[in-house]
């Protein structure tokens, strides 16, 4: 059968090392979800349009539906589960502990509704703000071209990104 050949994948995910034998055709997103049970990374399409599966590979945002697990071998992955600093930091009024400033901004700005696109949005905005710490509204809107949200009309996602940018600049 096609795809029956296995490969060994050695990868560091959210700081923890993992070694696994998987079919060569295994996508990184399925490896994260099915093998490591990190189900915060979502699958929303099959054509690399929606961005729900965005993770960081060696610090750079990638769509994990378009990376083979084998390609990630030897690299470091950060998923939505690994983004926030350890709990204990002051989360600010009304927000929960254990949230990264981008995640906190999403809650404060009502930047999510169903939450399905949200992990990918947060990971994409992490990249966007890393590339451009002081973006304009239009910069954010264009920077999110690879992420689809069907609930929010993007308005509060953009607001969250701008608020997080302010906070990260001041931090």
């Amino acid at each position: 059968m096609p795809g029956s050949r296995d490969v060994i994948v050695e990868v560091t995910v959210n700081g923890a090392r993992h070694t696994a034998q998987v079919p060569a055709r295994t996508l990184l997103v399925h490896f994260l979800r099915d093998r490591l049970r990190l189900t915060g990374t979502h699958v929303g399409c099959d054509t690399t349009q929606c961005g729900a599966c965005t993770v960081a590979l060696d610090g750079v945002a990638v769509k994990s539906c378009t990376v083979l697990a084998a390609q990630a071998s030897g690299h470091e992955i950060t998923t939505i589960e690994g983004l926030a600093p350890a709990a204990g930091a002051d989360p600010g009024p009304g927000a929960a502990a254990g949230l990264h400033p981008i995640q906190r901004a999403f809650q404060q700005a009502h930047g999510l509704q169903c939450g399905y696109c949200t992990p990918g949005m947060v990971m994409a905005i992490r990249q966007l703000l890393s590339d451009n710490p002081d973006p304009s509204e239009q910069d954010v809107r264009h920077g999110l071209a690879g992420n689809i949200c069907r609930c929010t009309g993007y308005q509060n996602i953009v607001a969250a990104a701008l608020a997080a940018a302010r906070q990260l600049r001041e931090a």
Partner: protein, 739 residues
């Protein structure tokens, strides 16, 4: 904190959502996130053609493939099905049996024919390629007018045509009103077929329990409804089944019905005695998940010399796709048709609604579900009246609005609007539109401003009794001896923020701290009966149930010898619990006026949306943050319909838009920042004064945007273009107008 003060402080406050921390950190539990040990995976073999007789289905090779546990075809599903057809059909309608797996014919490209179950999703997909189905292809028909035409290919055996239903709504004397009219304007208008595209695809996980009970996790807007439907389809007592929705990645109406693929997966789990999971792929979703809209209206209105509309008449052809889904007829019969008069005093009416079957994906409710179409058709015609009469579009609306003193108002189509002040909403819109000077645009670009006013019915309660024989959504409010409150409710949110809103409501009503309230829904074991969430009904119906249950708890607390807070009474009494039903509260009629400012580049036909101003009246607001979020999202979907979205088929019925590469949902860069405002006319129809508003953006913005583009194109004498207003379409119309 006093009870009264707490109510004032909590209801109406922009509380940030309690749902968010889990969803933001990847700890949501969507159906695909749950994987019990030993779970098998399913792949659905679907028809690759739109219309064919099935000659043979050969599954032997697939059954022998590596890792395959079973292959199911129609022959393996004796006693299972059919799916529920359409509900609430007028006499003389057709309601063809909708099979779980196709046996004799396939009626759309994507109809399920077989189900392969294997150890991994990949092995199931591999084996599915070995299922050999021989098709004898037939001519297909896809559009509503073409399907209704004489000589069209016939879908369902024993029928002389593809007409599914007909209903004529008549009031007054339309013919006489037209004969006496100073102005008569008519237009053919299309509300094109759309795909809902909830970002989480549909899925199901069926887990047979050791006690013989079946647990079904599925992305559904209606857990109790799904349980009742599934029990009937599978021939099981409902109490042998638990349906759990978990977290849901949006629904927009498409996760209301139960689907044939889901039934086949559940049957497989029962047969194999193992958990079976299936989640659709996105490209599959474009074929398998219900679409919305797909109507052609030929309507005209009559008006007197002052622009007062006296009559509306015509025909609306609506496609239902290959089969009825339960709520699809209601979107046409209860929404689109009766809502055509919108917020205007139109006394003469004669419109025929014609429903047809076609070789396309079945239609279901999609955000708005008949409301956006009715508003679009009416509001385009109102602008055409203004154009012909030489009047300002806002003035025509003002002259026709139902005035505040006339509420409750019964429309000529028989609906009773609870309350409203339509002019107040329009006035605020006009004020906000004129407060900002016209934006600068490149030379030669055409500016246009368009408005639309609308009425949104919400809060429908199906007249289908629950298991205890009564009609209504239920809520159970329990106060523990420690003063902690649990609210379990039969509506079922999927992204709207119900946990937060119902916690605000219960804390406000009971006078307890917000943090002490836990909200439960989406699980038929944990939440009492309810119809789920659709049709902007949860604040009205679920909210009313929570209100009545809280009143019962307060009443029990009052029976303690001295007045005291609820928590103290609960400590004295060893806890208090009360279940109450919403009953069937009358529907609410939210309203609004929306405005769009656009520019059109005549050299490319491209529309830029410069401003969207939304004024909504949804009565009492529980949480303005959530209301604004609903407006934003619905506006985006409405702009998608107006500008880019269109499910298309070729002449053979092959889908041409079955991926996110081909079906253009709005992106962040294609949308402006929406300016959202509220006015408030509380509803007298429920104890909270709330009105359902989850769909308003799709209703208001679509006609406002098209009216704006038509205003921009007026120099070219272009009277009407059908959506989506793509650059190509506008450019071609400009070229034609230039000669």
């Amino acid at each position: 904190m006093s009870a009264a003060g707490n109510r004032d402080n909590l209801i109406g406050r922009a509380v940030v959502r309690r749902e968010d921390p889990a969803l933001l950190t990847g700890r949501g539990q969507y159906v695909d996130d749950v994987a019990p040990p030993g779970t098998l995976h399913a792949f659905v073999v679907r028809s690759p053609v739109a219309h064919a007789r099935i000659v043979s289905v050969e599954a032997g090779a697939a059954r022998q493939a590596p890792g395959v546990a079973a292959v199911f075809t129609a022959a393996d599903l004796a006693g299972v099905g059919p799916l529920p057809g359409g509900e609430g059909l007028p006499p003389g309608s057709r309601n063809p049996a909708y099979p779980v797996l196709a046996a004799e014919k396939v009626l759309w490209a994507g109809q399920p024919v077989a189900l392969v179950v294997a150890e991994t999703p990949e092995l199931a997909a591999d084996a599915a390629e070995l299922v050999a189905v021989e098709y004898d292809e037939l001519p297909a028909v896809t559009g509503p007018l073409e399907a209704a035409a004489e000589g069209a290919p016939l879908l369902h055996s024993g029928a002389p045509d593809n007409i599914a239903l007909r209903k004529r709504i008549v009031a007054g004397d339309a013919a006489a009103a037209f004969a006496a009219a100073a102005h008569r304007v008519g237009q053919r208008m299309v509300s094109q077929r759309l795909a809902p595209v909830a970002l989480e695809p549909r899925g199901v996980l069926a887990v047979p329990g050791e006690d013989g009970r079946l647990e079904v996790r599925m992305s559904t807007q209606r857990p109790h409804g799904a349980r009742i439907w599934l029990a009937r389809i599978l021939g099981l007592p409902p109490e042998r089944m638990r349906v759990v929705a978990g977290d849901m990645g949006g629904g927009f109406g498409a996760k209301g019905p139960v689907y044939p693929d889901q039934v086949a997966v559940i049957h497989a789990a029962r047969t194999l005695g193992r958990p079976v999971k299936w989640v659709e792929e996105r490209s599959e979703s474009f074929l398998a998940t219900t679409h919305g809209r797909d109507q052609v209206a030929d309507l005209e209105v009559a008006a007197d010399a002052d622009g007062r509309i006296t009559a509306m008449r015509g025909t609306v052809h609506a496609s239902f796709g290959a089969y009825f889904t339960p709520n699809a007829p209601g979107s046409l019969l209860g929404r689109l048709g009766p809502m055509l008069p919108q917020g205007y005093r139109i006394e003469n009416f004669d419109v025929e609604l014609v429903g047809v079957f076609a070789n396309t994906t079945p239609i279901g409710p999609y955000r708005g579900a008949g409301r956006p179409e009715a508003a679009y058709f009416c509001e385009r015609l109102v602008d055409l009246v203004a154009l012909q009469a030489g009047l300002d579009p806002a003035e025509v609306r003002r002259r026709n609005f139902v005035p505040p003193a006339d509420f409750p108002y019964t429309s000529c189509t028989g609906l009773t609007y609870d309350s409203g002040d339509y002019q107040a909403g329009l006035d605020l819109l006009l004020e906000k539109l004129s407060a900002v000077p016209a934006p600068a645009v490149p030379e030669g670009h055409l500016l246009g401003t368009g408005i639309a006013s609308f009425v949104e019915p919400g809060g429908i309660t199906p007249r289908i009794p629950g298991p205890d024989g009564s009609v209504g959504d239920q809520a159970t409010v329990t106060v523990s001896p420690a003063g902690k409150v649990t609210v379990a409710v039969g509506t079922s949110g999927h992204g709207q923020g119900h946990e937060t809103a119902f916690a605000q409501l219960a804390a406000g009503l009971l006078g307890v701290p917000y943090e002490d309230v836990t909200v439960v829904f989406g699980d038929t074991d944990a939440a009492p009966f309810g119809y789920g969430t659709f049709g902007s009904r949860s604040a009205v119906a679920g909210g009313s149930a929570v209100y009545h249950a809280c009143q019962a708890v307060l009443e029990a607390a009052r029976r303690v010898d001295a007045p005291m807070p609820v928590a103290e009474a609960a400590a004295r009494l060893g806890g208090i619990s009360a279940t109450a039903s919403s009953g069937a509260p009358p529907e609410t009629y939210a309203s609004g006026s929306y405005g769009c400012v656009v520019s059109v580049d005549p050299d490319t036909g491209r529309v830029s949306v410069l401003r969207v101003v939304a004024v909504d009246d949804c009565g009492v607001v529980i949480n303005p943050l959530l209301v604004e979020g609903q407006v934003h999202g619905a506006v985006a979907q409405g702009l998608g319909q107006a500008l880019t979205e269109h499910v298309q088929y070729d002449a053979a019925g092959q889908p041409m838009s079955a991926s996110l590469m081909d079906y253009a949902v709005p992106l962040a860069a294609s949308l402006p920042s929406i300016e959202s405002y509220l006015v408030s006319t509380p509803s007298p129809a429920n104890p909270l004064g709330v009105k359902g508003m989850g769909e308003s953006g799709t209703i208001g913005v679509t006609p406002a945007l098209v009216n704006a583009v038509m205003a921009a194109l007026r120099p070219y004498g272009i009277r009407h273009l059908d959506m989506p207003l793509t650059p190509e379409k506008i450019w071609a119309a400009i070229q034609q107008a230039r000669g």
